[in-house]
Amino acid sequence: MSEPGGADGFRAEVRDWLRAHMPASPLPSVDTAAGFAAHRAWERELAGARLSAVSWPAEYGGRDAPLLQWLAFEEEYWAAGAPVRVGQNGLFLLAPTLFAHGSEEQRRRVLPPMARADEVWAQAWSEPDAGSDLAALRARAVRAAGGWLLSGTKTWSTRAAFADKAFGLFRTDPAAGRHHGLTYLMFGLRAEGVTVRPIRQLGGRTGFAEIFLDDVFVPDADVIGAPGEGWRIAMSTASHERGMSLRSPGRFTAAAARLVDLWRRAADPADTALAGRVADAWIGAQAYRLHTGATAARLEAGGALGAESSLGKVFWSELDLALHETALDLLGPAAEVDGVPGPDGQWLDGYLFALAGPIYAGTNEIQRTVIAERLLGLPR
């Protein structure tokens, strides 16, 4: 059986390339200076083969791959156990926003260095008093000659400890209503007036940071869309973040395959409760894969992705936890040992990462409310 859109040959190319180029040993953690540099170098290697942003148009460094081919790329990438994508925030959040709302000048200036990881982007959405209630954000952008002056605090900013640039929403018209007067801006993390304070996470690493902004100048050229349109622009691409582009099925099907392998090697056959959980985790990964394939086919046919991306966000974040908790339970008392080399050691890091899933990209409580009100039609 062949895949539609000529994905067969593409899938084989990706598989062969990964086999030939995969790092001989796992890269150091992306949340260290050395690890970040190693991941940046890996992204450059991917970009050299035009594999870092396959779904983008060729003129910006991509391959014009349709969604179904991109899903095939992801399956191969995760099945090979390839490194974390350090450029993820830029590639899958900022780039879709620029394609939908940016200017051609911005796309030409921002996208090629993003594809090569010459510029790695961090997101700057949340603030100390604006988490789930993002529209309560208070960081300001004040008019200045030729641009804007940013001030305020952004936090939980993924990758910001080592990244080059960031994007986020700023209040440009304090007199306007909560969802109005917000503007979508890009800014440099090493610009004058920016202070980045890395935050140590649950697992001891600095995967995110707090960003203090003190009259940081941003030229008009770095405003995406019109001033005051930031909320609409951010929400129009939010479904990308909740849905398949943030967490493609390849990640979970690869984890499910590793879980089944672990079960075969390590399980007590008499432990039928764990066997049932392994089966359920595999079924969940398969369901997410099939569901995403159907959604991608619908989008390719011209459909749109709206509130239903909230269904997927809750599903994949809970699936990720189930996969990793089941693996740790299979490992038994050895599961708590930190820094174990080899495949068994990945489960603890993966578990700590999975714990954040129900919180970021809109908490699962926010998603459930979206599902109830917008999909089921329950009263607000």
């Binding site: 079924i283 159907a294 991608a296 109830a372 089921l376």
Partner: protein, 348 residues
């Protein structure tokens, strides 16, 4: 005939839904529970007129020769409306079993009548299916065993019927009276029929789960407490959102199983069991939540909700338990050592 594509199946489902919505199915199910099957059998005749009973029968025997994906669509809609009677047996498992036995005399004896809706059939296959469901409504009762060399199919006589927790459903032990087929080929035919029945049952469960969610949303929008619709409370919203998530992600497993089972590929057992596990869990969550959202009125026999609540409980353990299906999935994936992403396309 095959409905060929998703759009055709959507139209078929919509047509069935429209017919069943106007057919007084809840009242027919109540009469069926009281022993008067006439209104329910009228619903079955209407289903036959729309081709439902002919789907799994080949054209040369008067059927439509449709795909299993079409059978799944129909069974989901029958579950959606809680149609009484041996749905998975008569619409899916028995026609598949008779065809798989590859015996022209048996084909001619039963398939045209099944396709036309003149004959309703049921089946027992211990241990997964210890009783023949609704044997009183069936003109053909079979007993099947898929245990390797000992595989066999009998014409059977139903014993005294017992009532299911679903009061519009009865359960009869079956005693074989005449061997129709025996040996490994019969065992393979029975295995295939049991997969087709499990798949049809999973589809009924998904449909019932959808109906329970719809009823819950309707109730939550109308029922006022503390001066507001109960559906405005977050505790209610979030439970119903979880029901929607469960149903949404069970559905693609059902479609995939219909595809691999029809292909007769090596993943048929794995995918059928995955679908049965996911649809059962999703339907049970829908039932549990629906009862809670409705409150005391949902706990009565006066309200129609019980027709779906009890059917979900009955079908959840039918055609193999959750443990058996999970074990079958695990056996298949551990033996194959493969990810769900095994290089096959996930889309058609």
């Amino acid at each position: 005939m095959t409905l060929a594509d998703a759009a055709g199946r959507d139209e078929f489902a919509a047509a069935l839904h429209d017919m069943l919505a106007g057919a007084g199915v809840p009242a027919a199910a109540r009469r069926w529970a009281d022993g008067d099957r006439a209104p329910g059998l009228a619903v079955w005749r209407a289903l036959a007129a729309q081709g439902v009973t002919a789907l799994a029968v080949a054209e040369r025997h008067g059927g439509l020769g449709a795909s299993l994906a079409d059978v799944v669509v129909a069974c989901e809609e029958l579950g959606h409306h809680a149609v009484p009677g041996p749905v998975a047996e008569s619409v899916a498992a028995v026609p598949v079993l008779i065809a798989a036995l590859d015996d022209a005399a048996l084909d001619a004896r039963w398939l045209p009548a099944l396709a036309a809706g003149d004959l309703i059939a049921t089946l027992a296959a211990p241990p997964a299916l210890p009783f023949a469901a609704d044997a009183e409504a069936a003109g053909l009762v079979l007993l099947a065993d898929c245990d390797g060399e000992a595989g066999a199919v009998w014409l059977a006589e139903p014993g005294a019927a017992r009532r299911s927790v679903d009061r519009a459903r009865s359960l009869s032990p079956a005693t074989g009276t005449q061997v129709l087929a025996r040996g490994p080929a019969a065992a393979a035919a029975v295995a295939r029929a049991l997969d087709a029945g499990a798949l049809a049952c999973a589809a009924q469960l998904l449909g019932a789960g959808r109906a329970l969610l719809e009823a819950s949303v309707r109730h939550a929008r109308q029922r006022l407490q503390f001066g507001r619709p109960v559906g405005a409370f977050q505790a209610v919203k979030h439970q119903l959102a979880d029901v929607a998530i469960g149903l949404e992600f069970a559905r693609p497993l059902l479609a995939e199983a219909a595809r691999t089972l029809a292909d007769g590929g090596c993943h048929a057992a794995r995918d059928t069991s995955a679908a049965k596990v996911a649809c059962t869990d999703a339907a049970r969550r829908a039932a549990r939540t629906a009862l809670q959202v409705h409150g005391a009125i949902g706990y009565t026999e006066e309200h129609d909700l019980h027709l779906w609540l009890t059917k979900v409980r009955a079908l959840a353990g039918s055609w193999g338990s959750q443990s058996q299906h999970r074990a079958r999935v695990l056996a298949a994936i551990a033996a194959a050592g493969q990810a769900p992403a095994d290089g096959r396309p996930m889309w058609t």
